[in-house]
Amino acid sequence: MQLTGSLFADASAIYGNGLSTFPDYPAEIRAPHGTVSGVSGFQVHIGSGRVTTPGDFCDLLVAMNPAALKANARWCKRTAMILVDEDAFDEAGLKKAGFTTENPFAELGVEDRALIVAPITSLTKESLKDSGMDQKAILKCKNMFTLGMACYIYSRPLEPIYAYLEKKFSKKHPEVIAPNKKVLDDGFNYAANIQAIPDTYVVEPVSDLPKGTYRNITGNQATAWGLLAASEKSGLPLFCGSYPITPATAILEELAIHKNLGAKTLQAEDEIAGICTAIGASFAGNLAVTTTSGPGLSLKSEALGLAVMVELPLVVVDVQRGGPSTGLPTKTEQTDLSQALYGRNGECPLPVIAARSPAGCFDAAFQAAKIALEHLTPVILLSEGFLGNGSEPWRIPSMADYPEIHPPFVKGALAEGERFKPFERDPETMVPQWALPGQKGFEHRVGGLEKNHAGVLSTDPENHAQMVAERAEKVARIARDLPALEVVGPASGGLLVVGWGGTYGHLSTAVSELKAEGVEVSYAHFDYINPLPANTEEVFARFDKVLVCELNSGQFASYLRGIYPQFNYVKFGKVQGQPFLVSEIKEAIKKEI
């Protein structure tokens, strides 16, 4: 189902539609087939305008078995079409999905939708009976038959899918290309012939898109590429030490491909080794990265403190998932914010930034690396499962438009007898200078024990107080380099809607839909969480109330209240392992007006 969905998305992207996808799948690799908990889903939202969310409710539900119908029927619009494989809706299938009557549609209250009940399995078998493929391989093709049907309904061209099949199988299994194309065509033609399909749709390409070359990209891929871009712009080789963890693994996998761009990846023996190898690589002068998800970030806490103490650049990507503990590994949440901000011993501040969309992960990763390298600090980049796995079309930028990255390397040579002081700071930025092993005369020692500016161990009370304050001030002054917080809608008024990270698509859609309905509210989205944009306080002061929307129980709201207690905050949280619905945000906003 994941492949079918992404092929439909790719075909739509190439056709020029606005697009957003959301794969939603169980944690098990081969979850019990036919059971409701084992349903693997792929949500695609296409449009002839800009699309920023995978959508709340669907126009077409494709359910390959009764369990899939049961798990998703509630997301069907009143006017939705439901396409099912009749062959899977036998007694056994219905029973396995927990249906108690023979009519699953009535049982779910969706019998009034446009139902397309097609014997997809039998038709696929018939289509491929002379293909020479074995029965198991033939059955795998039923998704391709269904894809053909969906392409007919939404007037999608099949050529991009042909191209995919040719590219994917030309080397290893050229014999399956023709049968797959045939079954795709047969599905398309079947849908055209049966006259059971009430409507077909033409979703025109987006007409007002900026000119340029576009591609489809997932958040995890964009994160990896943004880091590679920072490596190029800084001239430092990329080193990624990581341990596989859902849903962040794809970043490590993606970086492992790009050795051609000098990327070195080390699949570590555990999460701690992931970050510690990265810290070592940073000490030696690489752009060091470690990628993980919530539980992995917990394991990295002590080493993160070390990176703060030794003042070395490091990017830690946390693709958040449902927690606590192992939680919901394949589901999305924003529940690691407090951990990112505070989850270390001692007073240990570090920059935290968040990605707002799948393609936005590119810029967020680039920025995280730039801040880390220029301010000599670990940076946590918060992504989300929803962003990492989700995809959207992306206008490919030119690297010429991205800034150079200039780490504060030591300049010149030391005077005779002078010792390098590893923690002596630039008075403007509070950033020390960076000397790399191999540089003659700059030998120095760093470590987790408190030191003075000269890098000598010190337990002196005043020195400790000063170093704590200086490390905090170094992070705080990063705000000077950050873009101002922007307000969409009226610059002042009763209500300011606030969000951060991957809720951007849903929040901005909700606000613009409300505006179209005549309800105008203001909206500000945070990409930078620590430090906050310098004008945050000034913006908040212009509103009576700040509605903080986030996929947790109010962690950002509490953080804001801690820094700016003078404002009136209202929390709107959701902790279901699922993204927001645009509709529920609209309701929440209306309630506060």
């Binding site: 070359t213 489809n216 590679l228 190029e232 761009l261 570590a268 701690i272 080493a303 030119s398």
Partner: protein, 339 residues
């Protein structure tokens, strides 16, 4: 050719180990070995990086006038690995203790050895937690009475040598803190070896485990209870080198040359370079009273290093790829134009 002396490797920091601690001697041996390594390989001082974890011995980087990284408990091996992969021209030394490397850091320790990353690990084994003031460690002897085992431990210790060889280590040596000359020799060989070199230094903790290795280091018994192995030399020991090791049945046996029909020809010749792990494992596991404890370089074999593997692959993939910039990467695969 760099002309360095041990003075060049002494930092300006006061050494704060307890008087009589075995770590002083190991530090001195390292400071004397590095000029020899530099002379042999043409390494300038700034090429050296000394990394450590947490514990008494992990203070060592502060006493070396090189680049140094005093990391966190158990993780030195991971930090060293990252340094070496990031910049393979650096020569990485690591100081860690028995608790640091074998308890909290056991995982990193065995995986570094498995990968054969080119780092030099000095494992200070005093069989006790010193910095936390006297708790048993993974190398404390069975029954050891310590602050956390007031009635004696009920757990078996690790033999670090078995662990290294079990992880298919390519270099393992063992010595006593007091053997200054031997230690210079061993540490130099460790540096010359490409791959993970582990040198177990049996050190004394004068405060919490005094006499930790007295049964070996006591001058009265040392010659009979230890054997110094050197590649290509007969395995002889004893005050007058009258004893030797022979292979009998499935194991090693200590014999006296000229007695019971054993001649010098029967005595094994040490081959540190053989791939065969079997005899190296037997040598590493020797213990009294029947057998002497092996000192010296027990195993030293060639095998491709992890850092070379990583860099060769980068070069190989780069040579084959058509993508050499991020702009080219962004435009690779399926794209479409909006006009």
């Amino acid at each position: 050719m760099p002309n360095l002396t041990f003075q060049d490797f002494k930092s300006d920091q006061a050494v704060r180990w307890c008087p009589g601690c075995g770590d002083h001697a190991v530090l001195a041996a390292l400071q004397r070995a590095l000029p020899q390594v530099s002379h042999a390989l043409g390494y300038e001082k700034e090429r050296y990086v000394v990394v450590s974890g947490i514990g008494c011995s992990s203070r060592l980087p502060y006493y070396m006038d090189t680049y140094g990284f005093h990391s966190i408990h158990g993780r030195a091996t991971a930090v060293s690995t990252g340094i070496k992969v990031a910049n393979p021209t650096l020569t990485v030394w690591q100081a860690c203790g028995d608790g640091d490397a074998l308890a909290i850091g056991g995982n990193h320790f065995i995986h570094a050895i498995r990968r054969n990353i080119d780092i030099n690990v000095i494992l200070f084994n005093n069989r006790i937690y010193g910095l936390t003031k006297g708790q048993y460690s993974p190398t404390s002897k069975f029954g050891a009475i310590t602050k956390t085992s007031p009635y004696g431990t009920v757990e078996q210790p690790f033999n670090p040598g078995s662990l290294v060889l079990g992880a298919k280590g390519t270099f393992f040596a063992r010595s006593l803190d007091v053997e200054l000359k031997l230690n210079e020799e061993i540490l130099t060989q460790a540096a010359l070896h490409d791959g993970t070199s582990v040198v177990e230094m049996l050190t004394n903790c004068v405060i919490f485990n005094d006499g930790a290795h007295k049964e070996l280091s006591d001058p009265a018994v040392k010659a009979d209870r230890t054997i110094v192995l050197r590649d290509g030399e007969k395995m002889l020991f004893g005050k007058n080198r009258e004893k030797g090791l022979v292979l009998e049945g499935m194991g090693l046996k200590a014999v006296t040359v000229g007695e019971d029909g054993y001649t010098l020809d029967d005595v094994l010749v040490h081959d540190a370079h053989t791939d065969n792990m079997g005899l190296h494992m037997m040598l590493a596991e020797m213990k009294g009273p029947e057998l002497p404890v092996a000192l010296g370089v027990i195993r030293n074999v060639k095998q491709v290093t992890y850092d070379d593997g990583v860099h060769d692959q980068v070069l190989e993939v780069t040579a084959k790829s058509r993508i050499h910039s991020v702009d080219e990467l962004l435009h690779s695969g399926s794209t479409w134009e909006v006009k």
